[in-house]
Amino acid sequence: MIGAEVTFDVPIPKVIWGWLVSTNMWAKSIATGSFLLGLYFIKRYPQQDNFFRKWLPILGLIFIGITLLVTVLDLHHMFRFWKIFLHPHFTSAVTLGAWVVSGFVIVLLIAFWSWATGKKQLFDRIMIPGFVLAFFSTIYTAGIMGEATAREVWVFPAEMVSMLLSALIAGSSAYLLLDAIYNNVLQEQVRRELGYILFGSSGLMAAMFIGELMFAKMHSEFSHEVIKVLAFGEVAPFFWLGMLFTFIVPMVLVGIANEYRNYRYAWIASLSALIGLWLIKHAWLIAPQSLPLS
């Protein structure tokens, strides 16, 4: 006997988490990335800290706001969201994420208040808890993906590194874009360093995705199928455009910008990275959902 085919079944769900979840991850990368990098630059370049003390909370609040909005919109019972706080189940990365992000929002509000009132010490006092909360806000989605036992190629340690690199790409891109919009207000050294961060994190993340393409398919038949969907299936355009816009274009353009000190290329690289990041996250989210589970 050869071959087997399903000849009778009921329609079963395919995509369960869609573009709202992709947008959640994308916006959260910008919020946490701009916070983590903002802290670094405030400490490293105190003479330029006004720029970062202003934009760190503004970017953070806008994009964590988008994250929370799409998260709640994606719930089929959005008005029961409060139950996460009153009936928390702490084995769930969803619960941990909700609590950590809530703490992060408080830190961002304090950071905003600190900038608006000019009381720098206020923000200085919460930098360490802010760093911890931003870090865990970045990686909790990796925990959710790790707990999603049904889905192949979402593996916790790799997803965690991927989320951190996404945050670095998104944070550096956001600051480079702001710098361009405000006619190069940053010192050249700061701009170059942002470029190097974008270049390095893009390179590392590209290596991770190429590694997944090459090796994940060897783990199991399910992984093999997911990689086929990713590379050649319905989400392939998202994936390959994501690879182009998130990694290749930014690395080339930022490389040119820093090498030839021609920084107008940097903002194009940043815009490309931000667009590409959404595309590749969407492809990565959808591909494992394309497999039949039963």
């Binding site: 009778f8 329609p11 995509v15 988490w17 719930l75 089929h76 990365a93 959710i144 999603a148």
Partner: protein, 211 residues
């Protein structure tokens, strides 16, 4: 007490009585299933075989859905059943992302996650699950795994070909199959072409929910 389920696939005739009984007993809405029976045809004429595979929640001892649920809407009952609290559910669909058996659906009427509960409401009053009662060939065997004298325990003891779905995931399912095969239990061991087949269309539902 640890309740478990066993399907003797050699007895299943694919009549769907279990699926219909489940729908009626639990008032399962259209386009949603707690229990379904999949047909898989294997081979080429004249050397052909048809497999019937009833699929339901596996009530795992290490249930990914229970672990990922942020509000404990999915929870264990003392008898091992993984139960759902519809009022607690926030509809995040994390359980659907975590369940490797595709056993959970979002009820389009209540907007809450739902699934087979081994008819917990019937068990509570000493009755068997509806699918067990409806099965004309006694392919469904249900009982206490902790009781060595129960039919299911004896069945498990006397059969060497006991299988569970996706054992490699360490979910420790409490739903067993005997006289099964890889073709019957591994979703990638058979093609799943979309389109009109025996009686109806085999297809995927579009993105669930209202978004």
């Amino acid at each position: 007490m640890k309740l478990g389920f066993l399907v003797d696939l050699s007895r299943c005739i694919g009549c769907m009585a279990c699926a219909v009984a489940c729908k009626a007993e639990n008032d399962v809405p259209l386009h949603s299933w707690r229990l379904r029976v999949k047909y898989i045809d294997q081979g080429e004429f004249p050397d052909v075989k048809r497999h019937f595979v009833p699929l339901r929640c596996n009530h795992c001892e290490n249930a990914p859905c229970e672990r990922i649920c942020p509000v404990s809407a999915l929870h264990y009952l003392p008898n091992g059943i993984v139960n759902v609290d519809h009022e607690r559910c926030i509809g995040c669909a994390s359980c659907m992302m975590a369940c490797p058996y595709n056993a959970i659906y979002l009820d389009p009427i209540t907007n809450s996650a739902d699934k087979c509960t081994f008819c917990a409401h019937r068990i509570e009053v000493g009755m068997m699950p509806a699918c067990v009662v409806a099965c004309p060939t006694h392919a469904n065997i249900f009982g206490d795994l902790d009781d060595p004298e129960s039919e299911i325990s004896k069945y498990l003891k006397n059969h060497k070909d006991v299988m569970v779905r996706k054992p490699e995931l360490n979910t420790k399912p409490k739903h067993f199959y005997v006289r099964g095969s890889t073709v019957a239990l591994d979703p990638l061991a058979s093609e799943r072409p979309e389109g009109f087949t025996l009686f109806t269309e085999v297809k995927y539902l579009e993105h669930i929910g209202g978004h």
